[in-house]
Symmetry: C2
Subunit: 168 residues, 2 copies
DNA sequence: CTCCGTGCAAAAGGTTTGCACTGGT
DNA sequence: ACCAGTGCAAACCTTTTGCACGGAG
């Protein structure tokens, strides 16, 4: 990530913290910086490794908690693992998923019109051989739309379209 | 799933087992049946719960092993969790992922042309409010294309396109 | 009859929680 | 000075592994 973009992201992070009354601690700042420098989707443990170099006394617990916070602020995203445990799907034909970002319910979507427009990307330079794809739509399920908010989460903001909430 | 389709799937399962010299055990058959009846993406533990009703002495270990086997046979799919641990992504703008089904490397794909064709599905009946989406392309990364196969996996079959290998 | 598959127990990750102390605000 | 945030340890949950027995081929 470019130094300029990185600076902007850090600034955005501080603004969000102040908005929500969250402290801007060394740990939060440093961990965010570390992740912004990465393009390889580190695991929590990987982040801990990296963070340890800068903050020798940091604990894994803190790393987990900070990552959670950063995800809630929306400055980073979780990749994969909507729930803790792996889930299994009897449908092996191509289909897509609706993931509720609140209760993490996973719903099959058998609408084949959806993916007709998807063109396989050109990945010649990556030498990646694509075999299939799956689209994950994220949002709120019927039940969660009725419930106002979840514990500890931000107050219900206006739903700016384009705002990123899902994880993938 | 319709009784007819279910019967077909079970038959396909038995054929695949015989092809690969795998035993058709009560546990494998029953667990497959259970999952075919579900549309709610049960976790391994959920499957264990269900299976326990029919096979009181079954162990969690077996459930895990059977699920693995069924996924390798291709009669069910894993949903989510390419790796054991959650991974974090500094990129919060919409982008997509290339997932290597062998080494489980996750690569960002910033090709916005890809998703221009995606039309949001009609989910009025589900009352699901879609906020965003993410496409996961699965296949083989450059490194794994060079390596022949992985431990214990099926021998390198011809790559029929349309064959489903990825998990999502 | 021969192994593959199972069950049990124990270990190995990954993540969360309770509690006391420390450092931002 | 107050309280959110941290560090430590222990608990917890999910998954994997080693080993001996039993049943499918």
């Amino acid at each position: 990530m470019s130094p300029r973009e990185k600076r902007e992201r850090l600034q955005q992070f501080e603004v969000l913290c102040r908005q929500r009354g969250l402290a801007i601690t060394v740990q939060r700042r440093r961990i965010l910086e570390l992740i912004l420098d990465r393009r390889d989707h580190p695991t929590a443990d990987g982040v801990y490794e990296l963070a340890s170099r800068h903050l020798p006394n940091i604990s894994r617990t803190t790393v987990y908690r900070v990552l959670d916070t950063l995800v809630e602020l929306g400055v980073i995203n979780k990749a994969c693992s909507p729930g803790a445990a792996t889930r299994f799907d009897p449908v092996t034909a191509r289909h897509h998923h609706l993931l509720c970002v609140q209760c993490e319910k996973l719903i099959d979507l058998a609408d084949s019109r959806v993916d007709h427009g998807v063109e396989l990307p050109e990945v010649g330079d990556l030498a990646f051989q694509i075999k299939d794809f799956c689209i994950q739509f994220s949002g709120l399920c019927a039940a969660c739309r009725r419930k106002p908010a979840r514990r500890g989460a931000a107050p219900p903001k206006t739903d700016r379209p384009g705002e990123r909430r899902g994880q993938c």
